[in-house]
Symmetry: C2
Subunit: 239 residues, 2 copies
């Protein structure tokens, strides 16, 4: 089956968590928003069509045959068993999904560090509030999330390489993305914290060296981090 991913064509954003899973598995997929002939109009037509039976609230969404699935973690819940990126065991699938939802919460906080008032306003219109929120993010929330996931790696009875089991899962790919994005957005804050989270750093390195992912990351398909994205580098927010 050829999967169709629908997402904004110029940012990594939430779509990247899906792209990483599809790329690592070598899945047959098209990134519709980036196709010259279809692109954004195809995505907007879909979102705005009143006869769509299960309309997404927002991108990303995935077409898989007749199914249309939205919400990043839900898409991964559907895809991962089909891509071999989660164990078969139900308890471990729930655990993987739980971790992915915790990452989703973290992503909201990363975004709101630069947009604490409204996604509809420019950063410059909420810069004062962003400085306060980003300080709390750096001092309280960022260490809390990093400590939590480092502890998960440390406590994994199947070994400390991966979060869910002894093999890589989609959650590990998402964690790679978090570390990469945080390094871009908060280089100073992260530099101070990395030495306390060696297993997360090792996970990042191990994921980025995976054969298909390494090829993806050095290809033009991997969009660069940029200042319209979830992860943004504003030095004044980095302490």
């Amino acid at each position: 089956m050829r999967y169709e991913l629908y997402y904004w064509p110029e940012i990594q954003g939430r779509g990247e968590f899906i792209r990483l899973a599809l790329e690592d598995a070598g899945a047959d997929y098209v990134d519709v928003g980036r196709l010259p002939k279809r692109g954004m109009p195809a995505m907007m037509r879909f979102l705005e069509n009143p006869s769509t039976e299960h309309p997404p609230f927002a991108p990303p969404f995935l077409k898989a045959g007749n199914l249309v699935i939205a919400q990043t973690a839900n898409i991964l819940l559907y895809l991962a068993p089909r891509l071999g990126l989660v164990p078969k065991n139900e308890a471990l699938r729930l655990w993987a999904h739980q971790l992915q939802l915790t990452i989703a919460d973290w992503v909201v906080e990363v975004h709101d560090a630069h947009h604490p008032i409204s996604g509809g306003l420019y950063y410059e219109e909420q810069k004062r509030e962003a400085k306060r929120r980003a300080e709390d993010f750096r001092e309280e929330r960022l260490p809390k999330f990093l400590d939590y996931f480092e502890q998960i790696l440390k406590g994994n009875p199947k070994g400390t390489d991966y979060l869910v089991s002894k093999a890589v899962s989609y959650v590990d790919l998402s964690m790679f993305q978090m570390i990469a994005g945080l390094r871009y957005a908060f280089p100073r804050a992260l530099a101070k914290l990395e030495s306390k989270h060696p297993r997360l750093v090792a996970l990042h390195d191990q994921v980025s060296a995976r054969r298909r992912l390494a090829a993806y990351l050095s290809s033009p398909r991997r969009l660069p981090f940029n200042q319209q994205d979830l992860f943004r580098n504003y030095p004044e927010l980095d302490g």
Copy 2:
């Protein structure tokens, strides 16, 4: 099986979405945080025990036999098939979960309307920022979410009573909670919007009249809305 719900004992919060499903189904469960003999110490012991194999990032979490499951939407994903609160069909289960995750995103925005800077600070310490964020919430986000879910009801090919299929699902119970909470927190803003969302209002009424839920809602097990909760009534945030 007797389920054990672990959540803060003095607020509805995210735990309420789980309580509503358990109560509507007449499930055998205990609300551990509110038990005189166990209460908060039992919950904190669990959260802080370094040997917990799958530690939650935060409450609520559910013990179901040997399973420990966290993240509200994940708990409902697990419970709903067992409680008869979701169709059997995989496509509809994914759709229900997608809607629940969209509600979860909405809940974050409800909370952040009064806490836009930090959950670790008092409201009074972020009141100025809250006024700005709440205005955006009332003017942009609240109508967007209400319009979306009204449209889902309108477009449900199985009838406009419920969100997912022709029968009630856990997502409908959660939507009842959203409408009830928003009426408490933003009575003026909601009064202006309700006439444009008649199906959501009807859904709220229909859910609240369900036999077991009506009994629950008028029992002491239903905690009152209060000013420590997700939904808070600050008149200055209500426009």
